[in-house]
């Protein structure tokens, strides 16, 4: 009689490799699987749309990775806001806070950051940039404070409130660049450029890559370290993983922690806005973010909410968006297709996540939540 099912191979693997390694292999395999599924599906859809998947793919890859400049000036520059907002989303999700509002918090940060960058007099030059970034973080935190307080004080679900505030932030920016922050010429709906001292310098001369990238990586490492080694990071993970156990067994005060996490998440997203203003645009525009705050959710999910993984997945999505330009230019495929591909990545990541959740006893496929692995 044959059994219903067999799982021998996996059991053998578990005996030979340490658990930590297996979890990393599992996480990487998961991401690779999502990517593979995505490419397959995207190829089919492109072919159905009448484009050559091969040519499109070539253009995309060469646009993102084809030359050192493409990688540094296109992919990595685009990756910066994606990594930062991805970190904001990851942090919130780890604590069970469903912050869908990274986009709005990014705009709030950009708005306050740009305002500070424009009023140069009175500040010593070396302080101007830090103050701009600080203001941006504050803007994001303020924007997150509204849904955070609604959630912790009144129990209002944050998914709707954060989402709705995205549109408010976008419209607030539109008003600002037509009103108080509009350029002195008063022609275009945009602000003047921020002071020289308030800008992020290029990392290498001749490329567009700026100091925002190391900043983003530093924030990622910091968050990873906080989640792994500090009591507050551990409590945050506990609240996200099991709120009741955190409260009863861990004696953790859930509401203050939720509130704090929400604000820090908003701050990181706001920082993304400030970094965009100080490093890329030097001014405030309506279309400052082409939906970074939404793509951030995919970035975070693909990284399985691991801050270090967000660096990689953020860079991947940066490459996708950067390569899209080349795809449009060289093959004539509308850049909107990249949105389709991103949607595929999210769907396949979610599908694989579900598949994994249905196998709770397997170490191999389990999320790397252990301190021995990653936080």
């Amino acid at each position: 009689m044959k059994g219903w099912k067999r799982k021998r191979g996996q059991a053998m693997l578990e005996r030979r490799l340490p658990v930590g390694v297996l979890r990393w292999v599992g996480a990487t395999g998961l991401a690779a699987g999502a990517l593979g599924l995505t490419l397959l599906a995207a190829g089919v859809v492109l072919a159905l749309g009448g484009y050559s998947p091969l040519r499109a793919g070539t253009a995309l890859v060469s646009g993102a990775l084809g030359s050192p400049d493409a990688f540094l000036s296109v992919t990595l520059v685009r990756a910066v806001p994606l990594v930062l907002t991805g970190l904001a989303v990851s942090l919130a999700f780890r604590a069970g806070v469903w912050n869908i509002g990274a986009e709005g918090q990014l705009y709030a940060g950009a708005l306050l950051g740009a305002a500070v960058g424009l009023v140069s007099p009175g500040l010593p030059a070396p302080l101007h940039l830090p103050v701009l970034l600080l203001a941006a973080g504050l803007g994001g935190a303020l924007w997150a404070a509204v849904p955070a307080l609604l959630k912790t004080k009144l129990g209002v679900g944050e998914v709707v409130t954060t989402l709705v505030l995205n549109f408010v932030a976008l419209n607030l920016t539109s008003w600002a660049v037509r009103g108080p922050l509009q350029e002195n010429r008063g022609i275009f709906p945009q602000s003047d450029q921020v002071a020289e001292a308030a800008r992020l310098a290029p990392l290498w001369e001749g490329t567009r890559l700026h100091w925002g990238f190391p900043v983003a990586v530093a924030v990622a490492v910091l968050l990873w370290w906080v989640l792994k080694y500090t009591p507050v990071g551990f409590r945050l993970r506990a609240v996200g993983a099991a709120p009741n156990a955190a409260r009863v067994a861990g004696r953790i005060r859930v509401k203050p922690l939720t509130l704090g996490t929400f604000l820090v998440s908003g701050m990181v997203a706001g920082l993304a806005g400030g970094v965009e203003v100080a490093g890329v645009t030097y001014a405030l525009y309506e279309g400052l973010s082409p939906g970074h705050g939404y793509t951030a959710i995919a970035v975070a999910l693909l990284a399985r909410l691991n801050p270090l993984g967000v660096i990689i997945s953020g860079t991947l999505f940066g490459g996708l968006e950067g390569g899209a330009g080349a795809m449009q230019r060289d093959v004539g495929i509308p850049a909107a297709w990249v949105r389709v591909i991103q949607a595929f990545v999210i769907l396949s990541a979610l599908a694989i996540e579900r598949w994994v959740r249905a196998r709770p006893h397997s170490v191999f496929v389990h999320p790397p939540s252990a301190p021995g692995g990653a936080p």
């Binding site: 099991a242 009741n244 252990a370």
Partner: protein, 541 residues
């Protein structure tokens, strides 16, 4: 009664269900290693075993919730493969879950109607809840079995015993040939247990087969026709009730050596009626009060219970070196009292003087004591991460936490793959060992234990009781034991209280017997139960 019943059956019954050589691994843990089970028509069959022996897993296989690695299942001699619960239903196998599966906000009737197709069939039958149809059927089944329930009551307002009756009724509505119950007595008060066991006998008498997973030997012996014992994933004994006794079963469950060790454990008189006054007072010399409640109210204002019985106040002193036992039917405020005593909730009114950071063993292990998706070291860290040796200044010392975890896993003999194993992969008994190990490691002055042996088998319960007794002997800690298991309270506690409607009544030493306390316990709920029969099913004239 069961003995005469099984003896009166002359011809050997045909096997209705037969499970053979079932194997199931979860990671490195082999839950089943050649388990077998055979069920006959019209019998009550008890499945016994230690925690982690594989009872629940075998039940899940039978109910189509788990496809095993290897094994064969036949129904009336025909080999079948169960991949989903629906497959099991189609074979007439119905499972009453250990953790209830009712929707709390729906009424009893709505819960019963979930998943039932209306008599009209087709898409219209599937589109709306066939409430009248279900009410009709439920009335019939309720009349035939005496399962009295209030159809229009919202489930979240029912007691645990009532919920279980709804759960059973829900299964019976589908006219199963086999009714399987996973640890059904674990949550019930003594009177309710007797009611349940009588119901099971009645179901068997009406030609259904009842499979009951249990770990209290006296219950099993009073109700079962046949018994199957699992040990370490294998079937080690399959026998008629008449041919076994408690000692034989305990030997089969534990292995003889372990059973003898269990007999020598510091707890007496398990599973039998305990004479009340073997320990009359808190011993002298250990009289320092470590927790004091002064006129404390535990019902949150605005809750139905508070309105029903306003002004229920509790005053209680807990001393070092004693176990204060609190018995009571579920839902009389023990939960709230436990939260207040353990410092997890502020009293609604009154004064609670507590030692810093009391240890707490909550009754809901999987939700409140453990983070299921955290590994064991992280679960230890939940309670330990604030303290000295596990902190390095402001940072966590995971290496020290891992070392402590490993030490505790060994000392408390937790069956797990190591500190990296996720809490949810452990069996209930092993989870409780983890919780106890953690709560005792930090060195507290007060321990609040809420139904600490719920869902645990003999050996695991003995372990918990032994730990509580050992702690009392140590004299350094005061213990409050809140339990719906009356025997547990009577055997362990120095002082016995009964919780009735938010009030704490001390039981005089002379009345510390099962029947004496039982009367007190049920006096409050009797009034509520009277309403049950009167309420009409919809459709009644």
């Amino acid at each position: 009664m069961s003995r005469t019943r099984s003896a009166s059956r002359t011809e050997p019954e045909a096997e209705l269900i037969e499970l053979r050589d079932v194997h199931q691994r979860f990671g490195a843990v082999a839950a089943l290693r050649g388990a077998g089970l055979s069920l006959r028509v019209g019998e009550v069959h008890a499945l016994l075993g230690e925690n982690g022996a594989g009872k629940s897993t075998l039940l899940r296989v039978l109910a189509g919730l788990q496809a095993p690695d290897r094994g064969e299942l036949s129904v009336r001699g025909r080999v079948v493969h169960l991949h989903t619960p629906r497959d099991a239903w189609d074979e007439g196998i119905g499972l009453v879950h250990q953790h209830f599966t009712l929707v709390p906000r729906l009424t009893v009737l709505e819960n019963l109607a979930l998943g039932v197709r209306g008599p009209s069939g087709g898409w219209r039958g599937g589109m709306r809840l066939p409430l009248e149809h279900v009410a009709q059927r439920a009335r019939e089944v309720a009349a035939a079995t005496g399962l009295a329930i209030r159809p229009n009551e919202v489930v979240e307002r029912l007691s645990v015993g009532d919920r279980q009756r709804v759960e059973i009724l829900k299964v019976l509505l589908r006219e199963p040939r086999v009714v399987a119950l996973d640890e059904p007595t674990a949550v019930l008060a003594p009177a309710e247990i007797e009611r349940l066991l009588a119901l099971l006998r009645q179901l068997a008498a009406s030609g259904r087969t009842v499979l009951i997973v249990a770990h209290k030997l006296d219950e099993v012996l009073s109700v079962a026709d046949r018994v199957t014992v699992l040990r370490a994933g294998r079937t080690v004994l399959e026998a008629e009730r008449a041919s076994v006794n408690a000692r034989l079963l305990a030997d089969a469950m534990l292995g003889q050596e372990a059973r003898e060790a269990y007999d020598n454990a510091p707890v007496l008189g398990r599973g039998s009626v305990v004479g009340g006054n073997h320990r009359v007072q808190a011993r002298p010399g250990h009289t320092e009060c470590i927790a004091c409640l002064e006129r404390v109210e535990v019902w949150p204002a605005g809750e139905a219970a508070a309105a029903e019985d306003p002004g229920a106040e509790i005053s209680l002193d807990v001393h070092r070196g004693e176990i204060v036992g609190v018995a009571g039917v579920e839902g009389n405020g023990q939960r709230e009292l436990a939260l207040v005593l353990s410092g997890r909730r502020a009293p609604v009114r009154g004064r609670a003087v507590l030692p810093p950071d009391p240890a707490f063993i909550p009754q809901d292990r999987s939700r409140e004591a453990l983070a299921r998706d955290f590994d064991l070291a992280e679960n230890f860290a939940l309670a330990l991460h604030r303290q000295g040796p596990w902190r390095h200044g402001p940072l966590l010392r995971w290496s020290a936490l891992r070392t402590t975890s490993e030490k505790l896993l060994t000392r408390y003999r937790v069956l797990a793959e190591g500190t990296h194993a996720l809490a949810r992969t452990l069996s209930g008994g092993n989870q409780q060992r983890v919780v106890i190990a953690r709560e005792l490691e930090a060195g507290h002055d007060l321990l609040v234990a809420e139904n600490p042996t719920r869902g645990l088998d003999l050996a695991a319960s003995a372990f918990v009781h032994g730990e509580l007794a050992r702690l009392r002997e140590g004299g350094g800690i005061g213990i409050v034991l809140l339990s719906t298991d009356l025997d547990e309270v009577l055997t362990l506690a120095d002082r016995v209280f009964v919780m009735v409607r938010g009030r704490l009544l001390e039981v005089p030493a002379a009345e510390r017997t099962r029947s004496g306390v039982g009367e007190l316990m049920l006096s409050a709920s009797a009034a509520a139960d009277e309403g049950v029969e009167k309420e009409a099913w919809p459709g009644d004239a």
